[in-house]
Every structure is written in structure tokens, then in C-alpha cells.
């Protein structure tokens, strides 16, 4: 192992050069004009995998291709490493201090679109394997890398790809570095993600906008009816006010609450960062718990009547709200949808007609933070970063994680290398070379730990 770690240390300069090559491809999956860049990036990546000693292929999908790279099969425990070579659009270009596809080093920060999300993170895992192969160190696991090209557009074709290659991709677990860590001193294992249920409520009142002088006072106002319905969906303690909504919410354990308390940010810092006059959330939980371990209701959009300058004296014909509910283990989107629909029907007055359209749903994800798999990951983080790691939940939803669970039956070990100020999805995205190097070490140290699980 010493040889592996030494190799990583000795070749940092070249690794950074290779990351820069990788970052120069404007592999923007959302923009059709970058189709050729996507293909070129995938070819470069497959070629790079071959150069470091892996078998690699560019495998087609209905959309952008998937790069699959494998170590030689030896009968050792099989693991998957997931990443993506596509990036977010770089717009607005004018906000970048240097061109997004011309990597620029400033101190220990490498600025480029895709630097942390996700090229730097998946390259770190490839470097770890390269170090094993080039130092002739026995790799204690059989590894398959799946680096897709559609993560930023919803991984539309990944599930089908996983289904079609289920046997080939069978594994003990999936390792993913595509999340965050609170600081270089707080390496993190993300063991849970929230799920989601989205829906749209449309209330119809009069058959057309009515003059509020001539008719106002005799018909319900759909905008008011909507407000009165929505107002009842969240109580003054910040709880979702739908009977049965919390029935299957897993309680936070003492261990989880103690871990959440270690996140290095004060309420005052957080409040300032968000720019709100006062924080607000479910009573009885810290803001860290509220945003990751507790379910929510959010109004994402409201539309009704006149929206221009000045006033227009109407009773609007209709009013619409877009809602999303974040879900946590062990809530099931289908059951939650039924509870929501039931409650909305109860709340809707007879003076308006209601149409509810269910949108996307995603299950929450959770693996035990005290399982052997999690413990192995935490030991690795501690050794790689030299600091006590945090086990944490994150509030967002990552559909690929539930896809891996569903199709391959495998848990996902989320070992994020992005720092809070890395500007993923924003102008001036960057990646810390410290995270890059320590992430490569982590990648190397991980396989003996996972191999021990048998």
C-alpha cells in the first residue's frame, strides 16, 4: 500500500495535467451543439482508462454513451464505481473570471466547468486504480467503472443500461463521489438522501376572469380558495399538516443526531448565507436535521390572475400552485401521494373545481450509518484525510442512487469530495487539489477496507 500512496504523491503534477485535458472537453450533455464534444470526451476517457491498464469501452445508449472500464476479473469481491463525464452548461459566460473550458490554477484551486462536478472526483478514483496497476500492487477487489454522460440531464438512459447489463454489473456495492464534504477537516460519508413527490394543483372558478366590481362578492376567488387550502398544509410548528404523513418517518438515532451536531456551521452563519431575516423549520430539530432528515412541503410556484404592472380589477378564473414534498426514509412516494390527494379533496371547497396532476416521485435513500459497509468507508476517510469523518444525510434527491438499489440491489457508498464553496452548477466552478489528492488516497485505501467485508 505504501507504494500505491507514494505513486499518487509522486505523480500529482501529471494527474493535474490529465485532469486539465479532461476538463477541456466542453461535454455539456444538455446542449445539442456539444454532441461531438460529448463523444470526443467519452473516447478520451476510454482511452485514458486503457492507458492506465483497464479494459474500456464506449457503450452506446439512446442518448449519450456510457464509458465502462474494468479491472481484470480475478474472482475477488466485485464493486462498481460510478461517475459522470458530462457537465452543466457554463452559461452565463460573462460571470466566469476565466473561460470555463480553459482550466486555470489559482493556489490550490483548479477552476473549470466540471472540475468538481464530476470530472475531478471520478478521475481521483481512476488515479487510485492506476496506482495499484502501475506499482504491481494486488487490487483486493474486482472493479467496474461506469462513467455516464447524462447525469446532468436526469440519467434518462441509465436505468435501461443497468437493466440490460445486470449480470455484468452485479456487485457488492457502488462507490460514488458526487456529493459534498463540509470542509477538508470534515471528510464525510453521506448515508441518506431525501426522496421527493411533486404535484400541481389547479383550481378553476368562473369560466372567465370576472370584473371584480360588477361580480365581486358573489363567487369564490380561486386564488383565495387556493391560499386557504395551501395554508392548511403546514402548521405553525413547521410540520406538514396531512394526516398520516409522518407515520413511516424513521426516527433519528442518538448517533445520527450526534453526527449532525458536528457539521461545522453555526445557525447565524447559515442564516446569513441564505439571506433570510430568521430561520424557520420543524420545531424540535436543528437546521442540519431539518434540511436532511425531515420531510417538507414547499410551494415552488404560484400563478393566478394578473401579474403585470399596476392593477387589474378581476376575480381570476383560475389559480395554480406547484408543490414538492421532500421525503425521508421510510416514506413511500406512492403512499404519500394518496395521503396528499385525500387531504386536498377534503380541503377543496365546493365553490371551485380542482385538478391535481402528480409529477415525478423518487424514493428516499438510506443505508445504515453503523453498518459494516459504512464503518469501512468511515475508516478509509479518516486514514485518507487525517481527520475524524462525519456521517451525514443530505437533503437533495439523487435518482441514480435509487436506480442502483432497485436494479442491482446494491447499496451506494457516497463519499463526496466537493467543498461547500466549489460552485457546482454555478460560474467559477472549482475543485481543490487537496481534495483531488486526498480523494485519490481515499480511493486507494478504500478497496482493502471493502475487501475485508468479504
Amino acid at each position: 500500500m505504501n507504494a500505491v500512496l507514494q505513486y499518487i504523491e509522486d505523480n500529482q503534477k501529471r494527474f493535474v495535467d490529465e485532469l486539465c485535458q479532461y476538463l477541456r472537453f466542453p461535454s455539456v450533455s444538455a446542449q445539442p451543439e456539444h454532441r461531438a464534444d460529448m463523444a470526443a470526451c467519452a473516447e478520451w476517457l476510454a482511452n485514458h482508462c486503457r492507458q492506465i491498464g483497464l479494459e474500456a469501452e464506449v457503450r452506446p445508449t439512446a442518448g449519450h454513451p456510457v464509458v465502462v472500464a474494468r479491472t481484470r476479473r480475478t474472482g475477488k469481491p466485485p464493486y462498481l464505481v460510478y461517475g459522470h463525464y458530462d457537465v452543466q452548461p457554463a452559461e452565463p459566460f460573462e460571470l466566469w473570471k476565466s473561460p470555463p473550458f480553459e482550466p486555470r490554477l489559482e493556489g490550490r484551486s483548479l477552476f473549470a466547468r466540471g472540475a468538481c462536478d464530476n470530472k475531478g472526483q471520478n478521475l481521483a478514483h481512476l488515479i487510485a486504480v492506476e496506482a495499484y496497476l502501475k506499482t504491481n500492487t494486488e487490487l483486493p477487489c474486482d472493479l467496474t467503472f461506469i462513467i455516464e454522460g447524462e447525469e446532468e440531464v436526469g440519467s434518462k438512459n441509465l436505468e435501461e443500461f443497468l437493466q440490460a447489463n445486470r449480470k455484468e454489473l452485479a456487485c457488492r456495492a457502488v462507490v460514488i463521489s458526487d456529493t459534498g464534504m463540509p470542509s477538508l477537516k470534515h471528510p464525510a460519508l453521506t448515508y441518506a438522501l431525501r426522496g421527493i413527490f411533486a404535484c400541481e394543483i389547479l383550481l378553476r372558478g368562473p369560466s372567465r376572469d370576472l370584473h371584480s366590481g360588477i361580480f365581486g362578492g358573489t363567487v369564490d376567488n380561486p386564488a383565495m380558495a387556493l391560499c386557504q387550502m395551501l395554508a392548511q398544509l403546514r402548521d405553525k410548528n413547521g410540520r406538514v399538516n396531512i394526516p398520516g404523513f409522518y407515520d413511516s418517518v424513521a426516527k433519528l438515532s442518538a448517533y445520527e443526531r450526534q453526527q449532525a451536531a458536528r457539521i461545522p456551521m453555526t445557525e447565524a452563519q447559515y442564516r446569513k448565507f441564505l439571506g433570510v431575516p430568521k430561520l424557520f423549520g420543524e420545531r424540535g430539530y436543528t437546521f442540519v436535521e431539518q434540511r436532511s432528515a425531515r420531510p417538507t412541503i414547499e410551494i415552488n410556484g404560484l400563478t393566478s390572475g394578473y401579474q403585470g404592472e399596476g392593477s387589474k380589477t378581476i376575480v381570476p378564473s383560475w389559480a395554480r400552485a406547484k408543490l414538492t414534498f421532500r421525503l425521508v426514509a421510510d416514506q413511500e412516494p406512492d403512499r404519500i401521494q394518496k395521503l396528499i390527494m385525500k387531504r386536498l379533496k377534503e380541503l377543496c371547497p365546493p365553490t371551485v373545481k380542482m385538478e391535481v396532476t402528480a409529477g415525478h416521485g423518487a424514493e428516499p435513500y438510506m443505508m445504515s450509518p453503523t453498518s459494516p459497509l459504512a464503518q469501512a468507508a468511515l475508516r478509509t476517510l479518516k486514514e485518507a484525510f487525517g481527520h475524524e469523518p462525519i456521517s451525514m444525510r443530505e437533503g437533495g434527491s439523487i435518482p441514480i442512487v435509487t436506480q442502483f438499489k432497485k436494479v442491482l440491489g446494491a447499496e451506494c457508498v457516497l463519499l463526496g469530495l466537493a467543498l461547500p464553496d466549489d460552485n457546482a452548477h454555478s460560474p467559477n466552478e472549482k475543485f481543490s487539489l487537496d481534495c483531488f489528492e486526498k480523494g485519490s488516497r481515499m480511493g486507494a485505501l478504500l478497496w482493502p477496507e471493502l475487501a475485508k467485508l468479504g
Copy 2:
């Protein structure tokens, strides 16, 4: 008087021809390309007034001119007749069965933009005076006609005009035919109009839209905060839920309620006409009373967050509502504004910042429906139409009425000649020739009745 009425009957064909001439001017005050048509229409009108024996002038304002026409001063009781020669835009043209400025007669209906609103109605009053003058019948009042060109764009320059000519325009009352009547069998005196107070509420939460997964659950959602505030402004009995709001609302008298009950429309007809599943209004009042004699709160528009297709998982940075309150006698917009502001401040949670912008306000108008002036008008209506007239309130606000009251100290007698299906402001506007003829009779019969008031 018989000669006067006979003259009106005998000259109907010519009067309709003259109305058609008047209607051929596309006098659209809102559209700059019709400026010359506006001037030509005002000239035609002044000229017509001279032909029937009045002194007439086209008087400039900062906007479109006012036509002022007067009978010879004799020291008899002075009265004003108000009307307007400007019309609404005719768009969308494609919905008209015949061109809007080429009058078309179908049975007893004359179709053209401006037919009922307001050319037909003000010409009826000119015909009445013509009949007196041409039959050498002594007119029992000294009359001044003010026919303006900016009613459809808010009568912006009328108040200044009234102020500047206060002495010349001093009068006992102002007669206006620019409202409606329920049917030819229900001629109507409108004795009250609602006032209005408009405002806009803006709630600001986080400094930018936030990712609802990463941050949702820790900050208040401005759209939800707005819904919860607005929801509390109207109770389940349809009353405005603001302390003190009803303090100065004049009670409906037994006479008023009995009159309201005579409006010839059932609840079922009304509900069908509006296209709502169920009517809704303040408990304890009929729909006729609710829409004319009771104050209201209406949300005219709601705007927050994402409004496009599909979903966007954000906590929106802000949410906005446009509100109007219709007011009734004796509510004062300034006092109501204070009550509303106070209530909004009480309701606004500390988790968002609120900005309230006051919009336009207009006082409610009311004259006593049992005053000698009202009784004189009702006697006239009965004689002119041959049916028992209704005293009614209307729900809209007509700013000129309060301007006359404020500047000249004069009550307005509103004797509307438009039928409910006359399509004012809509394609295929029309005017009934029965209303035109009976309206002219009404105009003639009115002056002896008003003269009796001394």
C-alpha cells in the same frame, strides 16, 4: 310636453341616422392613431349641438377635448348632463359580425362600437333637448352638456377641467346615462356605486431562489407565508377578516332590500352565467346585495417562483399578491388602508420581509334612494318606460361620479340605458332602439320633474 314627445316619436328615423353618423367616427381614446378621429368626432358633436339650437364649443384639455354645449341661460335651475364621445378599442376585430365602425341594424338592435357606451345614451339626452327647442317648448331648466373624450382612459383631465370651470358648471345635480338597466321592463336608477382600495403585497424570503432539497425545511417559504397571511383575510362566512373593516358600512334599509329583490334574475341563472360550480358570498345577503351593497376582498393576481411547464424544485425568493377591496358607503379608503396595513403587519411572520404598496383608491358613492331627487328620477323612469322602476346599487366604481361630488358638490343621478346583453367593452356592442327612443322620452320628461324640486 305632448309636442315634445310627439317630435321625438316622429323623428326616430332621422335620429337613428344621426346616431349612425356619430358611430362612424372611430373615436378610440386609448389609441394614438385615432387622435384625428377623436378631434373630428368632437367637431361633429359640437356642430350637431349647434344645429339643434345649443351654444357649443370644443374645449381643449391636456388630453382629448371636452365638448361643452349649453342652453340659453334663463335663471332657471341649472343642471349638468354628462356623457362621453370616446369609445373602447374594438379589438379583437375578428370577433365582430360586422365592422365595428359601420353601424348595422338587426331588428331593434344597432350594432357598433360605442352604440350603448356611450354615444347612443348621450345622444338620447341631446334629442330630448332638441325636441324642446324645435317645438318652442319652454325648457324648465338651464342645461349644460359636458361630453368628454377620456372616459375610457380614466377621465384623467376631467377633474382639472371641472376645477378650472367650477363657476360655469355650478349645478343642482348631474344627470348621467352611462350605467345599465336590468331589462326594458325594469328601468333603473342607480343610487350607489362601490369604492375601491388596491394594494400589492410583496414578501421576501431568502436572497435568491434556493434548492428545495439542499435547503428546504430550514427557511420559511415566502409563497406559503403569503398564502397563510391571505387565508386569514377572509373568513368562512365570506366576510373580510380585518378588525374595524365593517365599522362604517351603512346598513341596507328595508326599502333597499326590497328593491334589490326585484332584480329579475334567479340564483340559478346567475350561477350559470358566471360558470361557477357554486355561488359564494357573505352569509346573510342575496347575490344582488353581495355584489353591490357589501364590501369585498379579492386577490387579483398571485406570482411566485416557477411558473413554466413541469416542476422546478426551489424555495422561491419572493411571493407577491395583488389585492383590491371594494368599499361601500360610508367606508373611507384612507381609513380602510390603515386598517389593512395594521392587519398585514400583525399577520406577517418574522421569517420574511414585507413590502406593501398602496395602489389607487376611490370613495364609494351613494345618494339617498328616497330623496326628492331620487323620487323625481323614479317618477320620470316610470312615465318614460311604462314600468315600475328599480332603485339599485351597482358594484363597480365610476371615478367621475365622485369627482362631480367633490369638485361641484353635486349629486349624480345615474339613469342607465344599457341592457345586460349590450356587450359594452366587448365585440358586437349594440344599443336597443327601444332604449334609445324611451331614453329620449326619459330625457324630455326629466326636466319638468327636476324643475319641481326648485
